[in-house]
Subunit: 330 residues, 2 copies
Amino acid sequence: MNDPIRIGIIGYGNLGRGVELSVAQNEDMRLCGVFTRRAPESLAILTPDVPVYHIDRLEEMTGDFDVMILCGGSATDLPLQTPRYAALYNVVDSFDTHAKIPAHFDAVDGAAKKGGKVAVISVGWDPGLFSINRLYGNAILPCGEDYTFWGKGVSQGHSDAIRRIEGVETAKQYTVPVQEAIESVRRGEAPALTTREKHKRECFVVAKEGADKERIREQIVTMPNYFADYDTTVHFIDRETFDKEHGGMAHGGFVIRSGRTGKNSETGHVIEYSLRLGSNPEFTASVLVAYARAAYKLSKEGQSGCKTAFDIAPAYLSPKSGVQLRKELL
Amino acid sequence: MNDPIRIGIIGYGNLGRGVELSVAQNEDMRLCGVFTRRAPESLAILTPDVPVYHIDRLEEMTGDFDVMILCGGSATDLPLQTPRYAALYNVVDSFDTHAKIPAHFDAVDGAAKKGGKVAVISVGWDPGLFSINRLYGNAILPCGEDYTFWGKGVSQGHSDAIRRIEGVETAKQYTVPVQEAIESVRRGEAPALTTREKHKRECFVVAKEGADKERIREQIVTMPNYFADYDTTVHFIDRETFDKEHGGMAHGGFVIRSGRTGKNSETGHVIEYSLRLGSNPEFTASVLVAYARAAYKLSKEGQSGCKTAFDIAPAYLSPKSGVQLRKELL
């Protein structure tokens, strides 16, 4: 048995805790430290005997870890942290602001190449597993249409947008795929779908005492970009119900490629990839951990620079050898 | 625009015709020849102006093709052809006898390395896309169960087994997944399923005149390995109905990974990959063609030897650049 892969976690929120749990499921890895911006002694982590360090100590511990898994947010943490730490460690992140991925890639690639490290960015399920399935679907059925549906699950960005409205105490927004649309796509009908026809938005809002609920509702459903283009339902509930029923982190979604082959495009095919996730952060963490193994193996081969899920052969994610994989899973 | 990838087809049955159709859908490729064991002049192919050669001419045309796609059968053609031609050309095959893949890999790897060529074996949907999904599912959710369901679709091997029974004129056998089993797996119940609980077998048989149908039925349903462990239904039909209703080549199936995360395995997740294929050979051909592109790119990079779908990063399958892929599909 080889030495286990020494994993570090940077940032200990829901995602960091998920990574901690996932590493414990993988025998070829060991969690060797958690890094935080908080006072380290204030942090109680789940795994006994694993040290917690202040994030400032990262510069001096480069010999003690094989891969750092970055568990901060895409808005402000990762754009700074991933390039910074990619110069020092092999790193993996779940950067998920789709429009900013090209710029993030370039920044991280430069840093990782300078440091001779491997950086894997934007892994998770979307971007990540959904992206891979879009790519395979497009490459195999070049004449066809892509469909991505999300949910049912909480959208953090939309929940935040509601919470910024005056009179709102707290809120959760669920993105719900429209079942009729999915069924039509599955039947190979390749429908042209508007935004409204693909997803519905369902909002659970706790209003502050005395707030004008009708005004809040109106502000939500007419909000540009976030809600105006969707059929949006707003439910006002009390704090107790909110805390009891809306703490879950389930999510999921579907990537469907509908394509045609044949001399006259007479043959239809449908490829569907779907996820039903009990916990969005725990599943995303499990994807990060599998790609941490890939980063380690690629680095051992002497590679460096930034990679996405597109650039990494499936075998790198597995602890098994090529011989085992061909025998057991091919 | 780069020069198109020059593709050759070896073997012109259903699969070879599927490859021909698929190459026509891909702008970065051109079909440059079809090789056959038959008399070349007896073969009418679909694409105008593409030459048909006798298979014996392969030895002398190594400069004229970038990738050969082998479209023979796994029983007797590919075990000989793939190692032989992997020494001369970059090749792709759909070898699908799961138990013999390790030996096939070794034979092809030796030949391809000697010739400095890239050989991609066992691509299609199972082995192939289903294998990749088993691997990703296992790597991401190490604590879990795998489920593969096939169908509804024709099993060539089972149809052949029925046709060997005395008194049978012709027959088609459909493998049908048991819907209740799939639903239980989808709900995350991780059931332990017997062979009988996963698939049913449905047979459509044309009996010769005067044959004892009850004896044929009995011989089918009690046949070891093929039918004895399944709930099997046998329908006797006339030749006209057979020809009209059972010429289709639709197929499909499901790969499901059901796994758990959390401190006490309290969180369930289900990853499902499914295919609904209008034509098994046309879809398999489309997968072969995407991997032909990968073989070409890997060879251009100076790689050689045998690869499976496990060893090839998704980006190699696409005609798009890394920059385009990150922008459009990530």
